[in-house]
Symmetry: C2
Subunit: 362 residues, 2 copies
Amino acid sequence: MKMARVYNFSAGPAVLPEEVLKEAAEEMLDYKGCGMSVMEMSHRSKMFSDIIETAEADLRELMNIPDNYKVLFLQGGASSQFSAIPMNLMKNKEADFIITGQWAKKAYKEASRYGKANIIASSEDKTFTYIPDCSDLNISENADYVYVCYNNTIYGTKYQQVPDTKGKILVADMSSCILSEPVNVEDFGVIYFGVQKNVGPAGVVVAVIREDLITDDVLPGTPTMLKWKTQADAKSLYNTPPCYGIYICGKVFQWLKKQGGLEAMKKHNEEKAKILYDFLDQSEMFKGTVVKEDRSLMNVPFVTGDDEMDAKFVKEAKEAGFENLKGHRTVGGMRASIYNAMPKEGVEKLVEFMKKFEEENK
Amino acid sequence: MKMARVYNFSAGPAVLPEEVLKEAAEEMLDYKGCGMSVMEMSHRSKMFSDIIETAEADLRELMNIPDNYKVLFLQGGASSQFSAIPMNLMKNKEADFIITGQWAKKAYKEASRYGKANIIASSEDKTFTYIPDCSDLNISENADYVYVCYNNTIYGTKYQQVPDTKGKILVADMSSCILSEPVNVEDFGVIYFGVQKNVGPAGVVVAVIREDLITDDVLPGTPTMLKWKTQADAKSLYNTPPCYGIYICGKVFQWLKKQGGLEAMKKHNEEKAKILYDFLDQSEMFKGTVVKEDRSLMNVPFVTGDDEMDAKFVKEAKEAGFENLKGHRTVGGMRASIYNAMPKEGVEKLVEFMKKFEEENK
Ligand SMILES: Cc1ncc(COP(=O)(O)O)c(C=O)c1O
Ligand SMILES: Cc1ncc(COP(=O)(O)O)c(C=O)c1O
Ligand SMILES: [Mg+2]
Ligand SMILES: [Mg+2]
Ligand SMILES: [Mg+2]
Ligand SMILES: [Mg+2]
């Protein structure tokens, strides 16, 4: 087996712990002596029940999820939840949105198709380089919920405080920051995430939902598969779930527990991000694009201010084994995604490379 | 790496070609020298484009798919298509259904939520042990389409002829017979399949759809993700697709090409199924439950006529390394699913075991 691994700064699908991949490779033809691959297992088998139940238990432990929240393993990507959320929650057919980038906007647009969706705050005025003040939001009286994208993958911002929703249910897309640090689950009605950034292979979306929000009272025409109650009642086995993806997520949960859980990850991620942000702050060539107080620990966008120089940097970085540093196709520049599985060494080496590049190109 | 493999007769997720699993294991940490796993690759990368485009091209070649059909790689399982089909096709809000078991019935029930769904034929009167005569169906004048489940996974029936829909669009769920033999794609408006039976790991559903059926004119409230046009316009990359599953499907397509394509598979599958059906037909203990003319090549249900004997058989078979022979939880008895990847040897050994069991228990 070849083992030349690059440093992969992809925003998602993204780097996974090497240990997890090695185990998966070893178990590919014969999972724990059962004579078959996890890909080949009936989702109704004892073996697979153990896998999904252990995954759920480990996630509950890591995130400290209270008993009155359900954990659903779903398909369809975060984008399917853009529809599922209004379909399941819009009893008054109204919801409030805070727009911090493309993902919140997409969720907002989809919700607008099902009811009245209000933008109550936005950072679009400054190209989403900050998180709006959420201490005194203009919450709509009839809003069924308030929606946020907790970490914007593209612009590299993160909420540092839970928005004050004045008692309304808070729904958060945590796709790109999940499990990077502790959150208080009780502050949220729904936390959901596509796993393909910080947890596993694309094709699984996990929703952590307060029990009382899972009801039969959904919008007419809600597809049975998008109704949370269908999935909750069947413990995520209403139909065939994305078994192999769930298995890999389970391994990542175990790996996180071995790392010391989310407090330890927070510390580790803060250290890692600091290496890069400190460099950006003193560099004369590179600069971060987000206001300091709202910087993401996971996605670090930066620019040189010169498109040609940006392109040269991305190209030379790639040649040196630093992959996927190009910014999102809609914004340009660079972006280093430094998720849980990115080793500190990867960030150190990147900064070394940036220093050298700056030296050579000044 | 341990290599003790059982004979896995699971109805899905199901056995995959050992060769494919071995390759996947070898490439797990480093796909073709690119330094990362396919699980870690951006879905917008050149590497992944090659994977999905090659998979599509190979599927087109295998099935001989005409140019005026799109191939979509989707998420959400076959069950999500139970909603997507009426949402995308019900222009007159009416459709006809032929009920041959639980899967057609579920699709029918879901469609009934969006328009007038008519049952125009059914084999429920005889516990779905046959395929209704479809030579002169009572097609509804305003039906937007006629829906069938081409191979019933649970009851083990298969259409031997394409139903005469009198010019109406035919939509077929081929989840459990796809790629087991050639079909004439042009006879169908839509062919779709969850890949977890005959192609790959659960979490990918493939839809082959005639271009003119992919329109903006969908039912109001159709989730953006369930609108086929969203996915067709974006070449299955509207959002993050289930990349790793698609990669495995691609490998299975390549494997099928190496086996000689679908004509060769048909011959192989007929030989394999004959071994088991011939035994059932002469056995005094075991008998197949489906009328001879409508037997599936893929799913072979059988019974002893005695529940206790059935249970004893399933238990002893398991001990002897034949896994997942228990019938579907809703019907009981036994079922051997003998998909493409089940080697002939597996069926031969099973029949040997059944002979011995009959001898010992008569
Ligand atoms: C924060 C966030 N939300 C949602 C999405 C969309 O996820 P998916 O591609 O699974 O639909 C993305 C990702 O790509 C994202 O970064
Ligand atoms: C013929 C058929 N259609 C549909 C389904 C449902 O597929 P899924 O579990 O992917 O929703 C199944 C399977 O389990 C099946 O056998
Ligand atoms: Mg956003
Ligand atoms: Mg600077
Ligand atoms: Mg059926
Ligand atoms: Mg007999």
